[in-house]
């Protein structure tokens, strides 16, 4: 019976082409709009590191000046000073610890045709690679020992390696960066993380900005005073020079703790509190503000990775879908109402109300499927349009299997929901009345 009703449904699509086209189009447009915005929301709010997101933590201390501070005010900054970062790195708390900041320096290529170009990277510590599961194509990350000795080593991303050296492995080659030589010890594999959560504060494009092109040890870049590329906050004049800035209370580094499990959060919190108490004895952190911890999801939330505009678009799209649904109900009512004589005959010949209900609901489903198919095409088109807007959006506007299936599910569910009232109305037909007027 299912098959037969399904075929009937397909056939009835042809019965009133203008009405059917309008029905399918309305549904498709509504579904496409909501799926396109939902896809973006889904990708933006995705968990970038599902296995570890609840045990990676960003610590936040408030090292702002006490003068003019009211309890409950926002903390001075979301980044940390080198003083605190150095102490955290030395602390042995948790499984791994890493700090990072952005650098930018001119790269001198051995290839004459490339000349010099500016490349952005990140200065970080050895734990960065295992902590964030960075995949290596060639070579290795640097070791804690190389961190301590401020070794002149560098890890390249696959893009920068390909640009500089082509297909061959550059491990062991020397690369000149900002006027200094570095030994290439590793090349990362393609490493796409959306949202890019490691360093969001002060990055152009935020969590959807460009991937850094190389990584080098924090200690090395501090020693060589490599140019910073990112935001920093100073509440007092740090004095002249790079070293004075590094030693000051200026905040410019991003820090991450990796704990063995999410249950270790309280022990990390108590470490942070006792650390802050200790620093207070040295005359720092006089604001006595609460010391905060954020896991990956909380950090993304706090950094407003999903902006208000994205939420607004999604709400709007669903409002629009609702309107399309109301329209579909009306159109289905129109479509079914002209079939009252047919229902009358079927009922007179012994079909139960249930049968009629089943038949008309399947017909709505067919409309839903057609709308879903067209909606999918429109959604792909809409996403392509959105991706063209900017580089950041290109990383976000792509559809995965979950969204693909959701599109169909949404379209069919919407059609069935819209079909309920017209179907019910169709079942109310009194056979005798219909037969009489024939």
């Amino acid at each position: 019976m299912f098959q037969y009703y399904f075929l009937l449904g397909l056939r009835s699509l042809r019965r009133n082409p203008a009405l059917t086209a309008l029905l399918v189009l309305t549904l498709a447009v509504g579904v496409a709009a909501s799926i396109a915005t939902l896809t973006i929301l889904h990708v933006m709010s995705g968990d970038p590191i599902p296995l570890k997101s609840d045990r990676l933590f960003v610590p936040n201390l408030d090292n702002g000046p006490l003068a003019g501070y009211q309890p409950g005010d926002d903390p001075n900054d979301e980044q940390l000073s080198w003083r605190d970062v150095r102490n955290f790195l030395d602390s042995k708390v948790g499984e791994r610890r890493t700090a990072l900041y952005g650098v930018a320096a001119p790269v001198e290529s051995e290839r004459a045709d490339l000349g010099v170009f500016s490349a952005r990277g990140e200065a970080t510590s050895a734990d960065f690679f295992p902590m964030f599961d960075a995949p290596f194509r060639h070579g290795r990350p640097w070791s804690a020992l190389e961190d301590r000795s401020a070794a002149p080593v560098i890890v390249l991303t696959s893009q920068l390696a390909a640009r500089l050296y082509g297909d061959e492995s550059p491990v062991g080659r020397q690369l000149r960066l900002g006027g200094n030589a570095y030994q290439v010890i590793g090349v990362l594999d393609k490493w796409t993380i959306v949202p890019r959560f490691h360093r969001i504060v002060g990055v152009n494009g935020g969590a959807f900005g460009d991937e850094p092109e190389y990584y080098l040890p924090l200690t090395t870049s501090l020693q060589r005073q490599l140019g910073r590329n990112g935001s920093s906050g100073c509440t007092s004049d740090p004095g002249p020079g790079f070293q004075a800035f590094v030693d000051s209370e200026c905040t410019w580094l991003q820090f991450w703790f990796e704990m063995a499990s999410s249950r270790d959060r309280s022990s990390l919190q108590s470490y942070l509190d006792s650390y802050a108490a200790e620093q207070r004895k040295l005359g720092r952190l006089q604001r006595h503000a609460p010391n905060k911890l954020y896991n990956v999801r909380e950090w993304l939330e706090f950094q407003k990775v999903v902006g208000n505009d994205n939420k607004l678009s999604a709400w709007l799209a669903f409002g629009f879908l609702l309107l399309c649904l109301v329209n579909t109900i009306g159109l289905l009512l129109a479509k079914f109402s002209v079939r009252a004589p047919e229902v009358g005959i079927r009922r007179a010949l012994g079909a139960s109300r249930r049968d009629i209900f089943y038949q008309f609901l399947l017909e709505s489903t067919v409309v839903g499927l057609a709308g879903g198919l067209l909606g999918l095409l429109l959604a792909f088109g809409a996403l392509a349009l959105i991706a063209m807007q900017s580089k950041e959006l290109t990383a976000i506007a792509h559809m995965d299997w979950i969204m693909l299936l959701s599109t169909f599910a949404l379209a069919v569910a919407a059609a069935i929901a819209a079909g309920l009232l017209p179907t019910w109305r169709a079942c109310q037909v009194t056979p005798a009345l219909q037969l009489k007027s024939q």
Binding site: A33, E108, V116, G307, L323, N327, S337, Q389
Partner: protein, 410 residues
């Protein structure tokens, strides 16, 4: 006239209810969407203070290493001279940042050393030459910097700072509320006893910050006469002759590279590009809202056409009877138009309430501002017109039904 229509509607509520719901939803979304579009448009249309922006572009130069302060000052002068020598360049100046380029230095200002909290957060344009000339900023009080006021500061070793400053009108008002003439007043960079004092020598009408914040802070700018060295590079802003910008941009790059004995990284970007990038999200949002609004109206119109056609089909016989009993075509037409007007009006009333509710939700959840009544009125008028326009076709077809229909069965 109204009574028979109402009682007919009452007999068959579902269809009219659906149409009214559509009108209400459309109006609620439309009014809010139009308002957001207008807000975004207003934000991205704010003037930066730079006159004739389409003539202005910026040049970023990076050198291989960082030289001594003297070297860098010499390079600054050489590069500025090279820029000015390019045909079609009207003016060029060294600066640390530019409006809307989204990279800038910000700091707190006070008007008294005893103050604990800074009074305003300003952005600092450290300039090597007169940007008042290059950007054609409008000086409303005081004067531009004198040549001997420019100081050389090496950020690696020097604690020196500029002693004079030019501020924007917005910043002057924030720092000295109620004071008419701030020229000659002293301001301090930061808080505490050791902060540097600067004397205001001029006030400009407007200069946006590199971030271009959407509130008053977007115009809290200070210009300082200071040539900063120690970065291993330079940043220049250039005004080209009208219509020459794109050519000049290319030639400037070549000229700078040719004039340098060592390899240089030179990048140019027009102010227009910076503006587009700064407001990209707002523009995209506005376009999306406009697209959705148009689709919204189309869907609603199609819904009205569809339902009205259905009613006309269902009432063929009644219309025929009415016509046979003496109703003119215009009566039938008027009937359907009046019916539609009533349904649309019910939808509009519900839509105004729904729109206010939706706006309330946006205000509380997404940091938006309250919807002015004008948008609801505009939206309502638009939907009334749409309703009449959409129903006109089916109503005309109804009016064309021949009285003879009444005599035929079924």
């Amino acid at each position: 006239m109204a009574h028979p229509i109402l009682s007919a509607l009452w007999r068959n509520k579902t269809g009219p209810l659906l149409v009214a719901t559509q009108v209400a939803l459309s109006l609620a979304i439309l009014a809010n969407a139009l308002y957001i579009v207008q807000v975004r448009q207003a934000v991205s249309a704010r003037p930066s203070g730079v006159a004739h922006e389409q003539q202005v572009f910026h040049v970023e130069v990076r050198r291989m290493g960082v030289g001594t302060s003297q070297d860098e000052i010499a390079q600054l002068h050489r590069e500025t001279a090279t820029l000015r020598a390019v045909a079609g360049v009207q003016s060029a100046a060294g600066t640390t940042q530019a409006p809307l380029n989204r990279m800038g230095n910000y700091g707190g200002l006070t008007t008294d050393r005893k103050q604990l909290v800074s009074q305003a957060n300003t952005t600092n344009y450290s300039v090597a030459d007169s940007v008042i000339q290059t950007w054609e900023l409008k000086l409303v009080a005081g004067r531009d910097f004198l040549p001997d006021e420019y100081v050389d500061i090496d950020v690696r070793t020097s604690t020196d700072a500029a002693r004079v400053a030019i501020v924007t009108q917005a910043l002057a008002r924030k720092l000295f509320p109620g004071v008419d003439n701030v020229v000659g007043k002293t301001i301090y960079n930061g808080t505490g006893a050791t902060t540097r004092a600067m004397q205001i020598v001029g006030v400009i009408e407007r200069l946006q910050t590199p971030a271009g914040q959407i509130d008053e802070r977007g115009e809290f700018s200070t210009i300082l006469p200071a040539r900063l060295t120690g970065y291993g590079g330079g940043y220049y802003t250039v005004r080209a002759e009208p219509g020459q910008r794109d050519r000049v941009m290319k030639e400037v790059e070549t000229a700078l590279r040719a004039a340098s004995p060592t390899p240089l990284i030179v990048r140019t970007k027009s102010m227009e590009e910076y503006r587009i990038e700064r407001y990209r999200a707002d523009t995209a949002m506005a376009w999306m809202l406009v697209t959705v609004s148009v689709l919204l109206l189309l869907i609603t119109a199609s819904g009205i056409v569809g339902m009205a056609s259905l009613w006309v089909t269902q009432r063929r016989k009644q219309i025929g009877v009415r016509r046979a009993l003496g109703a003119r075509r215009v009566d039938i037409l008027r009937y359907f138009l009046a019916e539609n007007f009533m349904i649309t009006s019910a939808g509009v009333v519900a839509g105004v309430l729904l729109g206010l509710g939706l706006n309330q939700l946006l205000v509380s959840q997404l940091e938006m501002t309250r919807l002015p009544a004008g948008y609801l009125v505009t939206g309502a008028v638009l939907l009334w017109l749409l309703g009449v326009g959409a129903v006109y076709g089916p109503a005309w077809r109804a009016a064309s039904i021949s009285p003879a229909t009444a005599t035929r069965s079924a």
